[in-house]
């Protein structure tokens, strides 16, 4: 077996790292959420539940959180609808082009998030590519203004950005399905459609859950897309947290919101992991 020294050398650095940069900040945030800000803009280190009361009573926070979840849910749905067929095609029908196409799915991840978000801005803006094209084709007289600075723009951009994150786990799950199961299904008289719904899809569900979780959780916490493309109607919970920690200088309230979101996300992850386990059979 490994020596004691070896085990220490291997385990201590990551543990230190996690404690310093993950657990400690969370602990600080936890503390902050029970403190408050004085009229003189200083943090008052007195334990109270005022921040949580404010969250419970002021509807704006609730509404924003619900809107964020609704946006995240739509991103999740569209990413799955786009990602599943692509992953399925990649795994079952791409043949020799499989590796190339797989790389093409990954390459967008190398491009900066900011660049991709700005790209959508130039496409969707009132002088943007899409509106110019529509007017040129005489489909509309005036630029469509709902395209940019709306929840629509946020959902579109986030779907574009997070679809690869749903494709990869679904692809991995599909690749794990032994091909002789597909042959066995055909052999027993099942048509390709029956085979898909009775064998392939059920066996790929762990990947679907993993992909859905990625898309939902990453979108829920996103603040750049709503900031750049969301406009007033597309504000998400992270934007509120950012402003509370920034201009508004209300760290305690910001910490309370962050903590609530964290609890929500962690319980979602827990739930999705349970579901993934339930649906895996290997």
């Amino acid at each position: 077996m490994f020596s004691r020294t070896y085990r220490l050398v291997v385990t201590v650095p990551p543990l230190l790292w996690i404690s310093m940069f993950l657990l400690l900040p969370y602990l600080l945030m936890f503390c902050y959420s029970f403190w408050s800000v004085s009229a003189a803009q200083t943090i008052v280190h007195v334990w109270n539940l005022d921040n949580y009361k404010e969250l419970a009573l002021k509807t704006v926070y609730w509404q924003t959180l619900l809107r964020s979840m609704w946006i995240a849910a739509r991103v999740m749905l569209f990413s799955l609808l786009l990602g599943y067929p692509l992953a399925y095609f990649l795994s079952f029908y791409a043949g020799k082009r499989k590796d190339l196409l797989y790389q093409l799915v990954i390459i967008p991840l190398w491009v900066s998030y900011l660049v991709r978000a700005y790209a959508w801005k130039t496409i969707l803006g009132s002088d943007g590519v899409l509106n110019t094209l529509l007017q040129y084709a005489h489909l509309t007289k005036h630029p469509l203004d709902f395209l940019l600075y709306s929840p629509f723009a946020v959902v579109l951009t986030l779907t574009h950005i997070y679809t690869p994150f749903t494709i990869l786990p679904i692809y991995a799950a599909l690749e794990h399905i032994p091909r002789n199961l597909v042959e066995a299904s055909h052999d027993l008289g099942a048509t390709p459609a029956q085979t898909f719904w009775k064998v392939i899809f059920p066996l790929s569900i762990p990947g679907v859950f993993a992909g859905a979780t990625f898309a939902f959780v990453l979108s829920l916490g996103d603040f750049l897309a709503p900031l750049l493309l969301g406009g007033p109607s597309g504000i998400m919970i992270s934007n509120i947290v950012v402003s509370l920690f920034g201009a508004a200088y209300n760290w305690p309230l910001g910490a309370a919101i962050s903590l609530c979101t964290l609890v929500l996300v962690v319980s979602l992850l827990f739930f999705s992991e349970r579901l993934e386990k339930k649906w895996s059979f290997s």
Binding site: E183, D187, L188, G189, L203
Partner: protein, 364 residues
């Protein structure tokens, strides 16, 4: 291509039984790799046919062509009056037992067996009854509600069998289904499989590389070498009348005697006997059990030779003894007697037991 005088034999199936499946001049190439060349074979109704061959001989490819997982490069497959090779696997009344069983991991044993009937949209009452019968037939009723991962390899094997048979196919294909089982279980399953086949009366096409398995179970053996059929006949016939040197060596042990025929006399090194064969080079297969250690006077029609024992190996009930005779001739003899290495023995066999066989030249 060498023409073998049994070339017509592949087309004759079991005496009297009508032909179920007809494989006509099937060839298959993968890129530059020729896997099957010009295979013709008829399978009779209710027959147990084994496709026997080494790995890479094309036996699994032939099975996959019958099942519909591969399309032949040329040639046709017919079942009854219906052409099969251009139909997808799910339209063929053929079922397969896969080498690794391929049970659906997300279904129970029962749901696995019901699968074929469910996709065919049979009434639920009929499904329940037929699944119960099929599970009973393979003695797996007790595990109906188990997931495949919770049962042993041998049990998975039975479930795979039930899942195929429940659909009452006209033909059942089995792709080395016993190769993953240990020796004892394998022997037991050979017997069970054979009796199950007799009971259900469905034609079985069984693929294996194990010549013993093939001889124990089959009505007929189709021996495949490098993508061509070498010989198709009953196990008894293939053993006692091998058509080629390859067949003789592949099925059991044999002595290959290479020699020359001239004026009704065969000469193989120090051996010679009378035989009505055309003049030219000849090749004989002589089974070790056809050679005896001789004593006393020579029997009429027997060929005798002397030699010294160089090796002896224990093979259960009998021993295989290697005897070096004069003229660099080494014969393998099956005997029940122990003889010390180096001792002199006289060997004897009947000339009629030496079976003339075709040469088996290298292919590809």
């Amino acid at each position: 291509m060498t023409t073998i005088d049994i070339a017509a034999a592949p087309l004759t199936a079991i005496a009297g039984a009508p032909t179920l499946l007809s494989i006509r001049n099937v060839a298959k190439t993968f890129g530059r790799n020729v896997v099957l060349r010009d295979v013709s074979l008829n399978i009779a109704e209710g027959e147990f046919l084994t496709i026997l061959g080494e790995s890479g001989s094309g036996k699994t490819t032939l099975l996959r062509i019958i099942a519909g997982f591969e399309t032949p490069t040329s040639g046709e497959v017919w079942m009854g009056g219906e052409r099969l090779d251009n139909q997808p696997p799910y339209r063929r009344r053929v079922n397969t037992v896969f080498q690794s069983y391929a049970l659906f991991p997300h279904f129970t044993v029962e749901q696995n067996v019901a699968y074929g009937l469910r996709v065919a949209k049979r009434p639920e009452a009929e499904i329940t009854q037929r699944v119960a019968e099929a599970l009973d037939k393979v003695k797996m009723s007790a595990h109906a509600k188990s997931k495949p991962s919770k049962i042993s390899g041998g049990q998975q094997q039975r479930v795979a069998l039930a899942r195929a048979l429940v659909n009452r196919p006209k033909l059942l294909l089995l792709d080395e289904p016993l190769s993953a089982l240990d020796a004892n279980l394998r022997r037991q399953m050979q017997v069970e499989l054979k009796s199950l086949q007799r009971e259900v009366g469905i034609a079985f096409v069984f693929v294996t590389h194990d010549q013993e398995e093939a001889t124990v179970m089959s009505d007929r053996i189709a021996l495949l070498r490098s993508g061509e059929l070498e010989q198709v006949t009953t196990p008894r016939e293939i053993y006692s009348r091998p058509a080629t040197a390859y067949v003789a060596q592949f099925i059991g042990h044999t002595n290959l005697l290479r020699g020359e025929a001239r004026d009704g006399l065969v000469k193989c090194g120090a051996l010679s006997w009378g035989a009505k064969l055309p003049d030219g080079p000849v090749l004989f297969s002589l089974r070790p059990e056809q050679i005896r250690i001789a004593s006393g006077t020579q029997s009429t029609g027997a060929v005798r030779i002397e030699g010294s024992v160089v090796h002896q190996a224990f093979h259960g009930a009998t021993e295989l003894m290697r005897v070096e005779c004069t003229g660099e001739l080494v014969l393998t003899v099956r005997t029940s007697v122990m003889s010390p290495i180096g001792s002199r023995v006289t060997l004897e066999f009947f000339a009629t037991d030496a079976v003339p066989v075709q040469e088996s030249p290298e292919r590809r």
